[in-house]
Symmetry: C2
Subunit: 253 residues, 2 copies
């Protein structure tokens, strides 16, 4: 008997940003698989089994989830934000392609969620109001030269740039290099946002500029958004707001 597997996005943190489909899918599962702190955000349900892991070894976690589903269980793999953006969905499909042939018969679904970047952008205004690029700064899974090439391309074409995984204890130097690379093409006054733990109790959001951005402000739970030439900071309702104009011009910097 073959079970089912859903890869579920919880949204950024607050339960009011978790979709009804995600809530229902989690409630219907016999087994939850995921990083411990994400599982902790799912309401307890009697009889449901939780398989917590650390936040590395995504492929091992995917294999575990698929093995459970293949044995007939109804499995939900839990991601924060959206499961398709630097999260578990890609790992599960990779595990299917490289794993046991019978895993291809499992009924798989992906339940989207409000991603961290959308939640961060909403909190601060509308910085993603025009063309943007989304990148992970981690070089665990790609060469740093590729990261630099993509930063260069995104900056030179005046995209707004969203940086996931900007820093970790093992990679404290990357964000500084990345911001310097972007700075070759963009004014020092360009708004930069450090958004940490958006919609969670310890949320913190800093608005600064490319010239003043301190890479040490970022950690694993931080998302960094660097504006384009059309991104503006205004005061609104007594607080600073960052948004990007819907109009754009061809600029050379």
């Amino acid at each position: 008997m073959t079970g089912r597997l859903a890869i579920v996005g919880l949204g950024p943190g607050a339960s009011e940003l978790t979709t009804p489909l995600a809530t229902a899918t989690l409630a219907a599962a016999t087994d939850l698989v995921g990083y411990g702190p994400y599982l902790a955000r799912v309401p307890e349900k009697s009889g449901q089994i939780r398989h917590a892991s650390d936040n590395r070894e995504e492929l091992a976690r995917a294999n575990q989830a698929l093995a459970l589903a293949a044995s007939g269980r109804v499995v939900a793999v839990v991601s924060s934000g959206d499961p398709g953006v630097f999260a578990m969905a890609s790992a599960v499909f990779e595990a299917i392609e490289t794993g046991k042939p019978e895993w291809r018969d499992i009924d798989i679904s992906v339940v989207p969620g409000v991603s961290a970047m959308l939640a961060a952008a909403a909190r601060i205004g509308a910085p993603l109001g025009h063309d943007f690029c989304v990148m992970s700064l981690s070089d665990n899974l790609k060469p740093w030269d590729l990261v630099l090439k993509r930063l260069e391309a995104a900056a030179s074409a005046d995209f707004i740039i969203v940086l996931y995984n900007p820093a970790s204890k093992a990679r404290p130097w990357q964000l500084g290099q990345a911001l310097a690379r972007i700075g070759r093409h963009r004014a020092g006054t360009t708004p930069v946002i450090f958004a940490r733990a958006v919609s969670q109790p310890d949320e913190s959001i800093d608005i600064t500029t490319l010239a003043d951005a301190d890479p040490a402000r970022a950690d694993m739970r931080t998302l960094v958004i660097v504006g384009s030439s059309a991104t503006r900071r205004v005061e609104c309702g007594g607080r600073p707001v960052v948004y990007t104009l819907r109009h754009a011009e061809l600029v050379e910097l």
Copy 2:
């Protein structure tokens, strides 16, 4: 007396993908402002006033909403998907910056939603599983040369590329040019997804390749996703799935 204004993302279509925060914010509003078909997705509520408009004139709609809020109303501006991604949030902040000084005192919030691209990606697998760019192909608000420059940059740096507004009756030629430009840097076998009306009753999703992609398949309600060199198509649970590997290499095409 000054009211409040929230810019609310409904998600892609299905109510099970609308967040509880969006639902609660809409229910608390005295006035709803938005494009008619989006307003039609909000449950009727006695006493609530609906101000429907067509899908152009975003700035006029934003001005109307701000004038209502300034007069003491509790206004929700309704967007499909996420309000910050090629939707109403940016227009509202632009209207505040260029509008009446007292509008800056209005309490403004943005309620994020599951964007069309996240919903489309979830439906098809995990095509956004690595670095990606998001662009509008419309040249209503930017020169076509800038669109081409950004396409060139995104394609040459091997980003996955998401195209909003790929075509309209007035712009039937742009998607063909865009795909040709991307094709300078990417193999003809690259997966391309046409996702229309995701999670709505008339949803349709086609998976094709860059060589076979027919621009005429796209209309105003279609989102196009072009894979990177690491995007793969596999069969899974009896259906085709597209996902992008979490690993990437520096490739030259």
